[in-house]
Amino acid sequence: MATIKALVLYGFGLNCDHETKFALEQSGADAQRVHITDLISRQVSLNDYHLLALPGGFSWGDDHGAGVILGLRLKMALQDDLEEFIRAGKVIIGICNGFQVLVNMGLLPGLGGVYFQRQVALIHNDCGNFRDAWVHLRVRPTVCPFVKGIEQVELPVRHGEGKFYAPEEVVTALFQNKQVVLQYATPTGELAQGRFPANPNGSLRDIAGICDASGRILGLMPHPEAFISAFQHPTWTRDKETWRRQGLPYPAPAGAGLRIFQNAVEYLAANVASC
């Protein structure tokens, strides 16, 4: 398999860069942390990579709307490079703060094929506070390669501004175009239907993650990089006990979030790495 090169952005208050890099490495990618300054000043060329990861954090302190300032800076400095990157069929993942950046930059959802225009928003949680809790997610039928083979997944959310909001016609279009990738659900897999805490932030139609029309740009509020090992799950000691009673050592399997990164790497290997 050709080497898939992944760029994980960091600096200016982003903070999930190390574990996002680790998750990509576990998925077989050659991942590098690149400072925002080096990307914007073109010390590092986006073109040299196949995957762009915008990790979680508090870029510029999230003071004027989460992800607003980083989105603005990337758009101003790199609009052409990003367009080229997308045209080349490469992939972008934005997690939490990175999702907020993609939305503010206008790379998501890109309805009507229009990028760099804000069409949806992620605003303050209805509960009025930052919240760290694990949520159940249901994957919708979608073209998004990141969630191939996944129907349901459990991941943590950790945010204060994750309520997905868009005008009704935009939400309808997202469903029609199969751009809604992840929805908050109950432990039994029913949709949360807006009910706290299954839907932790009041997102419209329980939307937790969306992609663009191509499916190659994914933004999500939950953190897949925070569940790449079973040890990260809140009740892993209970699973360990089940193994132990069968006289077996705990295998500490991979976490379900890893699949999302593996999917991206496999997709790129199959479709893009040669270009």
Binding site: G57, G61, H64, L72, I123, G128, K240
Partner: protein
């Protein structure tokens, strides 16, 4: 021309921030509003053109999907409008990032004078709210007058053209920096100066300071440099360096201790040396994992072959008591700088917290500055922003309610870091400065922050005087600096690093200059927030988010270039020398020159009288308490107690999973809702090695005897580590003392001798039990004077002293996290065992407190007995024999059995006959040294063999249903459902998010 931009959510959108205010107004004051909406205001003092302003409005500050905005007032319909803005000089984080954004957008700098000020306008809708009522909301909910001001508008006073007006909280000092010389011709003169300038010089230090200036060689050297009389820079510096905060005079003082019960007397020359340093150095000899202790900003222990961990703990009580949010934010962000400034720098991997506050529903007649409910909300939010925005997980913490903390709240913050063992081939825990090294100040700028907090708070506020004595931490600036400094470290640019904490540059540079043997500092090169600071203010200002580094001249250009990439300001403000002196200049003129040896010299130690009256002689007795008939209701009542019940709402506000390191989370069990015994992290994701941390404190036991309080806290912290998989071979401790004033004064502190004796006894226990358990004290701090004077019903004041409090934090290394376990019952049919002996030790217990008793018989710790079976428990966990493990702590067996059942969402059936002399004692005694475990039937034989000789008792079994049944032989004491237990345990704070 300044401009005011107003931004608000589109009217059809739910305003979560406004709704929070509406909810709090109802909950706190019983005031009902139909709607509250929030307008964010940015006031630009930037010289932008109208076209630029409009571009910035639409492109930077307005989200077209959700917001509307205007340079004209947006407010239309309201019954009251309340504007809240920061006072001049208070750190405005969103203002600073807004300016960064605008400059980036425009592609040009707006100049050093440009500023953006942020403020908030709240629009209240609802009938019949009076001006006094809305004023109460403004004062007690929205604005804190020491950092903020507010303005009220009724609809008939509102000018729809000008709105709130243009308010620019600029700092304008109009002051020429001046060095003042001060004659100290007599002891009386210096004493008077000390009072006038609020230097707080100790009377006994005064002749020593004067003698220094009279020395002929000192005078000759000063003449050469153009100095004669002492300067204000020098005296302020000496006062800082001699302060209790910087010098720990209490812990280095001489205590004349007398036990009034036995008549025995003893003299303790230094609590620090006797009770902390000696045992720790002795243990460090035996334990090769102890890497660096007792000299640096934090202690260092070995993590694995390639990395060391770093730990320290701090408090930030007084500032949090004044401004809860800013105080605790500054506290947590501040303690993070300690590991960053340890050795050549450590990456932060965890922050822990502890809050001691008055009861949230306090309704007594004392009126603290901030009601405990508001104070707690504020300190929770400060740690939330400090931790979350720094990208550092907050995996553990606690809140402890007691009304003695109305006088002053306690805010504990603990930081854990990780550093490579070697950097450039040398030990990374070591650092030094050498003559010729350049002094760089990194991070924030300097203002009047934290200078003489006490005097500043009593000054009148003018329109443009900085309200800087209470600080707002800036996690964003510090996060950038953290990333930058770690890269600079890895490049080998950092020879020495330390943080600017208490004392600011004066202590950071003063201490680092000792290694090189001197320094020269150019105060005019220190970047300022605003002009007009005097030289002495620059030198001792405690402005936050700053570190001092020593950099070799050859590395300086690369160091500066790396800082620029990270958007971090660094300034070369001097160099280290071997002159033997600390030499400060301002624009080439010497303004201070002090020999390093002087401050290290022979200042006399402080002296304290300590008189101990044993509890029985103080009249403490056991209450005469008959056996309850309704044990089920009693358990409900206990579970609902503020110090027992669920406080999930706090833990959920803290990101405890960032960095991907979380292994045992703050909340565990099937529903992830029960507090863990200890937290476990895996700071290197590629490794299975873990770090376990735990915290314990027992101020209520200290009301009986602080000796046993300390012992119980150490024992509890150890059991908490063992319960999650920690190892007795490797336990490091951190002691954080918070004590009321111990200096006896017949009028102001009549029980000072007793409080001093409490401190001595706590330290003696620290020494005895750390040695017994083999716990070196990796780090520790003391915060004295946790007293407040609170007004009552008649404007009289009452001195309220916080209970003598010691937080003990412990850390352990776990070779393989697969060994970790949690407290939740796992499977029906498993056997429940109690390990340890339950004695009639209810003194200071939660049960006695429920009935209003203190009692006498406080839990005691017997390491000789306990350690033998602790080792067996550790071996059983390592062998994988246990399904769950939980220590028995505050609230006793009844409470902790309930927690295990709730965590597993499974019933329990146990028989406590024979556990203790009475059911009440068995259920609620808080005897130390106990664990509860559950064991699968097939493992019981091996487990019992493993525990041979230990005080082990099989209590009962885990049930398949959710019945919770406690028997006492023939009698069924408690029968209920686990779901009912959960309901009462969660109810009290269940509606808080």
């Amino acid at each position: 021309m300044a401009a005011r931009l107003e931004i608000m959510l589109r009217p059809e959108l739910f305003d979560a921030a406004g709704e929070s205010v509406r909810r709090q107004a109802r909950e706190y004051f019983g005031l009902e509003f139909t709607r509250v909406r929030v307008i964010q205001i940015l006031t630009f003092d930037t010289g932008m053109t109208p076209a630029e302003l409009e571009a910035v409005r639409t492109e930077v500050f307005t989200n077209p999907v959700t917001q509307i905005s205007s340079f004209r007032p947006l407010a239309r319909h309201f019954d009251w409008a309340v504007w809240v803005g920061l006072r001049p000089g208070v750190r405005d984080n969103p203002g600073a990032t807004g300016l960064e954004a605008v400059e980036a957008f425009l592609g040009r700098s707006l100049g050093p004078e440009a500023a953006i000020y942020t403020s908030t306008l709240y629009l209240f809708e609802g009938d019949g709210i009076s001006r006094p009522e809305i004023t109460k909301i403004a004062q007690e909910l929205l604005a804190n007058d020491i950092i903020q001001e507010f303005r009220l508008f009724a609809p008939d006073q509102w000018d729809p053209e000008s709105g709130v007006g243009l308010i620019l909280p600029q700092v304008r000092l109009d002051h020429q920096p001046t060095v003042t010389t001060l004659a100290i011709d007599s002891n009386e003169t210096l004493q008077r100066l000390s009072q006038e300038r609020n230097l707080a010089l100790r009377e006994q230090d005064i002749p020593i300071i004067r003698r220094y200036y009279l020395r002929s060689e000192v005078q000759a050297r000063r003449r050469q440099l153009g100095l004669s009389l002492p300067t204000d820079v020098e005296l302020e510096y000496i006062a800082q360096a001699r302060s209790d905060h910087c010098n720990h005079n209490t812990f280095r003082g001489i205590f004349a201790y007398k036990d009034l019960g036995t008549g025995e007397t003893a003299t303790i020359k230094s609590l620090f040396k006797t009770c902390i340093e000696q045992p720790t150095l002795a243990l460090a000899q035996e334990k090769p994992w102890v890497v660096s202790v007792l000299w640096d900003n934090a202690g260092v222990g070995a993590f694995d072959d390639d990395f060391n961990y770093v730990i320290t703990g701090e408090t930030h009580n007084s500032p949090s008591n004044m401004e809860a949010y800013g105080g605790s934010l500054t506290g947590i962000v501040g303690v993070y700088r300690d590991p960053l400034g340890t050795g050549r720098g450590a990456k932060l991997v965890a922050g822990l917290y502890g809050f001691c506050v008055g009861h949230r529903d306090y309704q007594g007649s004392l009126r603290p500055r901030l009601h405990p409910r508001r104070l707690l909300d504020g300190v929770i939010a400060g740690v939330k922003d400090g931790g979350n925005k720094s990208g550092i997980p907050t995996p553990l913490g606690f809140v402890h309610f007691h009304d003695s903390y109305l006088g002053k709240c306690l805010v504990f913050v603990v930081a854990v870091g990780l550093m490579p063992r070697l950097l450039q081939g040398t030990d990374a825990s070591q650092k030094t400065t050498a003559p010729g090294d350049l002094i760089f100040m990194c991070g924030g700028r300097v203002g009047k922050d934290g200078i003489h907090g006490v005097t500043a708070s009593s000054e009148e506020f003018g329109a443009h005087t900085p309200a800087g004595h209470v600080q707002i931490g800036d996690p964003y600036t510090q996060k950038k600096m953290h990333d930058f400094l770690l890269e600079a470290r890895d490049q080998g640019y950092i020879a020495f690093i330390t943080d600017c904490g208490g004392g600011g540059l004066s202590s950071a540079i003063g201490e680092s200059a000792r290694f090189a043997g001197g320094c020269e500092v150019w105060l005019d090169k220190v970047p300022l927030k605003y002009e007009g600071l005097d030289q002495w203010e620059i030198w001792i200002s405690e402005s936050q988010e700053r570190m001092v580094t020593a950099v070799k001249p050859a590395h300086a250009p690369a160091f500066q270039a790396l800082a620029a990439k990270h958007g971090v300001e660094v300034s070369n403000i001097g160099r280290y020398t071997d002159s033997g002196a600390l030499h400060l200049l301002y624009q080439g003129q010497t303004c201070a020159y002090i020999e390093l040896a002087f401050l290290e010299g022979d200042f006399p130690p402080w002296r304290f009288e300590a008189e101990w009256l044993p509890p029985a002689l103080r009249g403490l007795t056991e209450p005469v308490l008959g056996e309850p008939q309704d044990h089920t209701s009693l358990l409900y009542r206990m579970l609902a107690r503020p110090n027992i019940c669920s406080r999930e709402w706090i833990a959920r506000q803290y990101d405890h999973e960032v960095q991907g390191s979380s292994v045992i989370k703050p909340l565990v069990g099937r529903g992830a809702n029960i507090p863990t015994d200890g937290a476990v992290l895996r700071p290197r994701q590629e490794s299975h090695r873990g770090l376990a941390v735990s915290m314990a404190l027992h101020p209520s036991y200290g009301q009986i005897d602080t000796y046993h309080m300390t012992a119980a806290s150490i024992d509890e912290a150890v059991r908490r580590l063992l319960a999650v998989g920690g190892s007795l071979d490797h336990i490091g401790g951190v002691d954080n003392f918070c004590w009321p004033s111990i200096q006896y004064d017949p009028v102001k502190n009549p029980d000072g001798k007793y409080k001093a004796a409490q401190l001595v006894r706590a330290n003696q226990a620290l020494q005895h039990y750390c040695l017994a358990y083999g716990i070196p004290l990796l780090s520790g701090k003391d915060s004295m004077y946790i007293d407040g004077h609170l007004p009552g019903d008649f404007q009289e004041t009452h001195k309220v002293s916080g209970l003598a409090t010691l937080l003990f934090t412990a850390i352990s290394v776990i070779p393989d996290v697969a060994r970790c376990l949690t407290l939740d019952c796992k499977e029906p049919g498993d056997y429940v065992y109690l390990i340890g002996t339950t004695k009639p030790e209810l003194g200071g217990s939660e049960l006695y407190d429920l009935f209003g008793y203190l009692g006498l018989q406080v839990p005691e710790v017997n390491p000789g007995e306990f350690l033998a079976y602790y080792k067996q428990v550790e071996a059983a966990i390592a062998a994988g024999l246990l399904a769950s493990c939980h220590g028995v702590y505050r609230g006793g067996l009844a409470v902790h059995l309930a927690l295990m059942a709730m965590a597993g969402d499974l019933g329990l059936e146990v028989d406590l006959a024979g556990v203790a002399t009475s059911p009440l004692t068995a259920l609620y005694s808080e005897s130390a040294g106990r664990f509860l475990v559950t064991v699968a039937p097939q493992d019981c034989q091996r487990w019992e063999t493993c525990m041979a000789g230990a005080p082990l008792r099989r209590l009962g079994r885990v049930r398949a249903d959710r019945r919770f049944l406690v028997h006492w032989g023939e009698h069924l004491l408690i029968q209920t459902e686990v779901s009912d237990l959960l309901t009462v345990w969660q109810e009290r704070f269940g509606n808080l998010i």
